[in-house]
């Protein structure tokens, strides 16, 4: 009698776990379906070419224009700028911490970076608004410091922790015998890092960069606070609008075609993220297979 009861419990448990196990697949399906079904109508009405490649966004005018090229380019430039600032510093920092730093310094700085990674994005936005924007205004004699450059700097600081953390893990995983052998052959530390440590940790470092890219493309709240939020074509010292901020700044009052167009922007953003994610997961697989060898 008891064994029969146990057996049914086991059976029910396995069904329940199967159902829960499918949840991520279900979520991705639902999100994709919702984004496509709510994002496509506006693209059809506006026309894909017009939507993606025309450079005027004037959603509330009497003759509304829905061209998101400025947003796409701003997001790309902003992300690229943030990467150019954060990647050299981040990887340099990771290299120093992994190969040269005394353990106490490493622990201390890692702790700080962990806290930095946990700080909410709105706090970055606030500090950017209060410190960075006025500083850039007076530094470059602008009428308003809220511009693409400010957004790049804030994004760079925000992605720094993930770049440092992931590339540090990759560098720490390089077997020290490799490096010792290179040093023993008379190579300097620079040559060792360039010819041994870097190639061995290559995919992990690349993964850290792509992770940073995803973060930077997807960030909304910090960017909206420092970028000025006007739909200009990207310019270092002008107020700009990103893909993410285009959604969040108009969503609260949008209606009709304007609202549908915002969903289409979300769809474009989703496609960007899918691309970076696919590359990332390929790289991560490479990292794992390297580890197991």
């Amino acid at each position: 009698m008891k064994t029969i009861k146990n057996k049914t419990i086991e059976q029910i448990a396995s069904w329940i776990f199967f159902a829960i196990g499918m949840i991520t697949i279900l979520c991705v399906l639902v999100i994709t379906l919702y984004l496509i079904s709510s994002g496509l109508p506006a693209i059809q009405k506006i026309g894909l070419k017009e939507f993606l490649f025309s450079s005027t966004w004037n959603s509330t005018g009497s003759d509304p224009k829905f061209g998101i090229l400025p947003f796409i380019l701003t997001s790309l430039y902003g992300t690229l700028g943030a990467l150019l600032l954060a990647v050299p510093v981040g990887i340099g920092c990771a290299l120093y911490l992994s190969k040269f730093a005394p353990p106490a310094l490493k622990r201390c700085l890692l702790m700080g970076i962990q806290v930095l990674a946990g700080i909410p994005s709105v706090v970055f936005g606030l500090v950017g608004m209060v410190v960075l924007v006025p500083w850039i205004r007076s530094m470059f004699h602008l009428s308003d410091g809220a511009c693409l450059l400010s957004a790049m700097i804030v994004l760079a600081i925000m992605i720094l922790p993930s770049v440092v953390n992931v590339s540090l893990n990759a560098l720490d995983a390089v077997p020290s015998e490799y490096e010792e052998a290179s040093i023993a052959l008379g190579a300097t530390k620079l040559e060792t890092v360039r010819k041994v440590s870097f190639p061995a940790a290559r995919s992990g470092i690349l993964a850290s960069i792509i992770l940073g890219t995803g973060r930077a493309i997807g960030e909304a709240m910090a960017v909206i606070m420092v970028s000025g939020n006007v739909a200009n074509m990207p310019n270092m010292f002008q107020s700009v609008r990103f893909l993410t901020t285009a959604i969040s700044s108009e969503m609260s009052y949008a209606s009709g075609l304007q609202k549908e167009a915002l969903f289409s922007i979300a769809l474009v953003l989703f496609v960007f993220i899918l691309l970076t994610n696919t590359i990332l997961s390929k790289l991560m697989k490479e990292v794992q297979s390297n580890d197991s060898h």
């Binding site: 639902v30 620079l190 997807g218 990332l280």
Partner: protein, 298 residues
Amino acid sequence: MIPIKTKEMLLIQRSAEKTKPNYRKWKDRLFQASLWGAMSVCAVLTFSLIVYVAIKAVPNINLDFLLGQPSYIEDTIGILPAILNTLYLLLGTLLFVVPLGVGAAIYLNEYCKSARLVSLIEYTSDILSGIPSIVYGLVGMLFFCQFFNLQTSILAGALTLVIMNIPTIMKTTRESLKTVPNSYREGARALGAGKWKTIHTVVLKSCTSGMITGILLTVGRILGESAALLFTAGFAQVLNPIYEGMFSSGASLSVAMYVFAKERGEFDVAFGIAGILLILTLIISVAAQILEARTKER
């Protein structure tokens, strides 16, 4: 015996140094110096940001600030509603996300036999953790607020955050499930326990630390989330008991901070909230690190 360098040897050495200046060494020094520079930039940025927020926050945090509520009529500003909303949001999210995340991890690690299904689930969970929070906000608005008719409410916000955070809990729980030795499972099975019995008596007990790490990370993300909550949970700042709070619009601390800074220009209040968020972040990351150190010791 110490080898004595002859005059000729010294001469040869010197001439070699003269003809071939040692660029390699200089390059190496320059390289190390630039790495040191990069590290100092990181360190200065990190610590000055933390100290700056702390210094700006301290004068604004007091009891009136913590226990008051914002009112235009009485011209008071307080963040008690935001604190309570954040608590409701945390409760609502964790209530759903912990069982779902842990369950999915158990399915992946203990039940699922097909390697293809495992990699499909891993891939979808990577996609979920990469989707920008603003996109979650939109989908949450369509799905929970409109389709399920929850309106703009903390519950809708919490459910949106559940989807966002499933991958986190799943990942950390799975990592620690992997460290449970197979012999434990085999032992329990050999004694006649079924799979489920093995899991809830033997396996789950050995992986609590992974679950707690996941919960800590999730709490951190919920505290910091704003973009996904703007359109799902809204930004009302009214004092509500928990049941009504769940079904009415409410701003969490981060959202309230955004509203104070961007919409109302009240930077002092915003910095006060930022300070509180900073303290919470500090507590969480210290707790996570202690936990990690402990698991490593074992």
